[in-house]
Each structure stands twice: as C-alpha cells, then as structure tokens.
C-alpha cells in the first residue's frame, strides 16, 4: 500500500525513541495521532473510544520502544496495535454496558468473568512493581534514563559501563516490564511479523 506522506517518520526519530528520547517520541506522537484518529474514527464512531485506543496504543509503543528500529514498517505495526487495542476497548465496553450487567445479575448464563480492566493508573502501578523487582544495576540504569532523562551514552559514562551494556540493560528491563504486564492480564501484540528480515 502506498505510504501516506503525512505519516512518514525519519529513521533517526525511531532510533531516538528507542533510546528513550521523550522529545522524539513527542514528535512521533504528534505526527501519527491525527492520522490514526482519522482512520479509527471512520470505523469506531466513539471519540472516547478512539482516545482510549490511541492512549493504550502509544503506551504499548513506548514500552516497546527498544524494538522499534528493528521493524521493517513501524507505522504499520502501530496501526496493527491500534486494531488490537480496539478489540480490547470494545470488550471493555461489554462490561460497562448497564443492560448487560443487569442481565448478568439476573441470569448466571451471563455471568461476568473478572475483566482485566487495566486503566492507565493500573498500568503505571504494575510498571512500578516490575521495576522494583529488577536487579539493582538494571533498576538504576532505568531510573537514570527515565527519571533523570540521561541518554544511554551519558549513563554509560556516569556508571563506567560500555554503551552496549547500558542499551542491553534497558532493553531487557523493558522486556521484563512487558512480560510482567502480560502476566497481569494485559494483552501485548506480537511484533514477529513486522520485524526486518
């Protein structure tokens, strides 16, 4: 499919996002969100829904940031994540629907299973719990990256480690966070199909 030029993102931006550069991520967000909003709005006529789907999508993008440069078509992957999050959101709607809830109270046939309604606060809490479980050095490296805004090269210099050691540490910490979230019931899309060959 021909690319919409307005959704084009320069290679450098993906690489900076992978490094944890918030400004590059902001740029990515500002470029893609309007396009994603327009496309989603066409198929999900709920502005609240679209907002939630986009928020969840970009949380996933951010938590998968180290994987982004390895994708052949990262924009396509993001849209696939959005499709996935759309299903999750619709599923949540079924529990939010009052009529459905009433039925569930009356008839066991409609019994509700506890839904993993991972709102934003819960996601952040789970991430914090995951981080608390990291070994000391990895946790320190993550903190320096996120709390202090240091670049990987700066962290390496500060701790007397190699640049690749720091990058690998951040990458494995992100992997741990993602696995922790999956174990807690949050669905995370697979990237396999989108990886660069």
């Amino acid at each position: 499919m021909p690319e919409n030029p307005s959704s084009h993102i320069a290679r450098e931006i993906w690489e900076r996002v992978a490094e944890g550069d918030e400004t590059a991520f902001a740029l990515l967000f500002q470029t893609l969100v309007p396009q994603l909003q327009a496309a989603l709005g066409k198929w999900l006529p709920s502005s609240e829904g679209v907002k939630e789907v986009i928020q969840e999508t970009f949380i996933r993008v951010w938590l998968n940031r180290d994987q982004l440069p390895g994708l052949e078509k990262p924009v396509n992957w993001i849209f696939r994540v959005a499709s996935n999050e759309s299903f999750t959101w619709l599923k949540k709607q079924t529990t939010r629907d009052r009529h459905y809830r009433q039925l569930a109270e009356q008839q066991s046939a409609y019994a509700l299973h506890p839904e993993q309604d991972l709102g934003l606060q819960e996601t952040a809490q789970l991430v914090r719990k995951a981080l608390a479980q990291l070994p000391t050095q990895k946790r320190l490296i993550y903190e320096l990256s996120r709390e202090q805004g240091l670049k990987t090269a700066e962290i390496a210099e500060k701790l007397g480690l190699s640049h690749s050691h720091v990058r690998n540490a951040l990458s494995s910490s992100l992997k741990f966070i993602r696995e922790y979230l999956v174990a807690a019931g949050k669905v995370m899309a697979l990237m396999a199909v989108f990886l660069r060959t």
Partner: protein, 388 residues
Amino acid sequence: MENQRILDLVQQYLSGGLDAGDKESLFAWLRAEENRETFVDTLYPLLMASLASQEPQTYQHEEWDEVLHQVLRSDRAAPVIPLRRRRWQWVAAAAVLLSGAVCWKFFYPTKPPTPVITQAHAIIPGGKRAVLTLSDGRRVTLDSASNGLVAQQGDAKVVKVDSGALAYTAAAKPGEAMYNTLATPKGGEYHLTLPDGSQVWLNAASSITYPTAFTGNDRTVTMTGEAYFQVAADAAKPFRVRVEGRQEVDVLGTQFDIKSYEDEPVLKTTLLQGSVDVLAGRQKTHPLAGQQTVLQTDGRLRLVTEPDLESAVAWKSGLFVFKNEDIPSIMRQISRWYDITVHIEGAAGDKTYTGQMPRSAPITDVLAWMEASGIHFRIKGNDITVQP
C-alpha cells in the same frame, strides 16, 4: 459471524442503534478472546486503507497533549513531576503559554520562552501558488485561476487540472515551439505535467522554462531553484534539464531532484530511479539510482554514493527533514516556505540540529521549536533575526 458484519454491528452499537438480541450476539462474540485475531485481521487492513487515502490531518494540542503526557508517565517510578523539570515537560508547560505552539527540542532550554512568538501569527506557511508566463509575455496567476483551460499556446492546451496542478496537452501536429515559464514565489509550490507526460514538482522560489511542444530532437527545459522530475521514457528524444550557466542533466526515463538555489553553497542533483548524466563545465558524472552529485563552489562536480535521500526529497512529501544542519541552512529552507526574510547575527550558526516537521506547521510551532532548542530571535513583521 462474518467479519464485515462484526464491524457493522460495532458501528451500530456505538451509534446506539442496536437491538437487544443483536447486542447480545455482538457482546458474546467480543467476549470470546479467540475472536481477537479475526477482529484485528478485519480492522487492520481497513485502517491502513483509510490511512493511504486520507487527507493530512492537524495535531490538536488541546485534545492530545495530556494523553502524551500520561503515556510518558506510564513507566516513571515517581508519579509526581520532580523538582528538576524534565526536558520536554518544561516544553509542554511552555506550549500552553505560547497559545498552543508545540516545542520539539533536542537540547536543554537555557531561557524561558519569550512572548515574541505570538507576534508571528501573520506569517503563514506556503501553499499551491505559482505564476505562468506565456510566450507572448502575458502572466497568469494560477492560485486564483479556476480549473480548466488557462490558455491556448499554438496547438497546445494549458489546463489547470486541480489546485496546484497544471498540465499541457500535446497537440496532434505541433507547430513552432513556444516557451512558457512556470514560477513559484516564496511560499509557493506547484505541479506541472509537460506535453510529453513528464511530471515536475516545483518547490518554493523556483521556476521552470519549457517549450509548449517538444518538436526538436530532444526535450530541453531550464530551471532555477528546486524541482523534482519524473521523466516519461522516450529513447528517441533525450530529456535535458539545464540550470543556466552551471549544470545540465541528460536524462533517460527516471526520477530525480535538483536543488539549485543561488543562496545554497552547492547544487545537488539526487537520483532516485533510472539513469542520468550530469554535466558541469567540462566534467561529466553518471550517478546510479540512489546516488547524488554535488556541484561545489570551486566548480568541482563530486559524486556522493550514499547521500541522505530522505532529507533531499522530504519537501515533495510535505515535510522538512533536518539532519545535522546548521541554523543558516535550516533558516534558508524556512524562509523560502514561509516567505520571510531571515538575518543571522553573530555566531548563531555553530550548532547543528536534527528533526522533522510537516510543511503545513504554522510558523508559531517552528519558532517555538527553535526557541526551545536554544535559538533566540526577534521578529518585526516578516523579518526574523536570529540572535546568538
């Protein structure tokens, strides 16, 4: 349940028009996790198709900045903004002060933003504007012209096919060739289809002079500024692009960009596809697809085997892409598109910057980005002075 039907039901449900029976079926289907893949496989191609065909959209700060903020907080241990303000969080606060302007920056800010930026509202980004000069010297302003026949040049018809696009229809028996010139002002861009079907995209402050019919042994056009060419194959008539007094490109069915602004230090010819010969003075170079030639100020024609293709043709995709560019270089691009005059004081031109932004971005966004990157300036009407 049939795939497309699911989406129809979803839309009906969200619009409130679904009866209880259908709602139960839909809900049951959605609650089955095994249906996730099917749903995604149905929705994803539709989203991609929408993306491919939709118009460019504008980012609404008021609507989305808070979401962005929340996303970036998802993996922060401390829920409260620490005392030492994070780079872009400062920027987000500043964005509110600057009435919705966005700040993209790659360096720590040195000073809080000034109110200067609000004065820049009158400066608008470029658009589809050009002036056509016919063979008799008559000038037609194309922005305001309506679609349809603009002029008749001998047997050739000159038609405005759409806003921003001009086309020449080849006459059955072309008579004597007449020359027309299409020129864009600062802040203008235009698309032209030549009588042989070749396409030209003109960037701002550029021009192209061409015959209304290619009657001779070759197809020669002359240009200034920057243009992107997609040349129709015709082995019998080689296509030649001249930049008067500096360079000539001989073409064989291909796609390339020529950036020849007088105020740029070099003349760049970037070949995307096909085959060309680049001639300058007595030098001749034959770049391959994906390569670039650079005509330097000392007259030397140099071949670049791995050029930055992305930034060379980003303009055609509606983007500015800067890669390790200094302020003078960035400001030259900005001034051509926003039709402003830029002055640079002192040693403002030392650092380099990397970033991208859509050409549709208002000047307030551009200036806010620069301000937050530590570039200071003052504005007076359409004059912007960059200060050290």
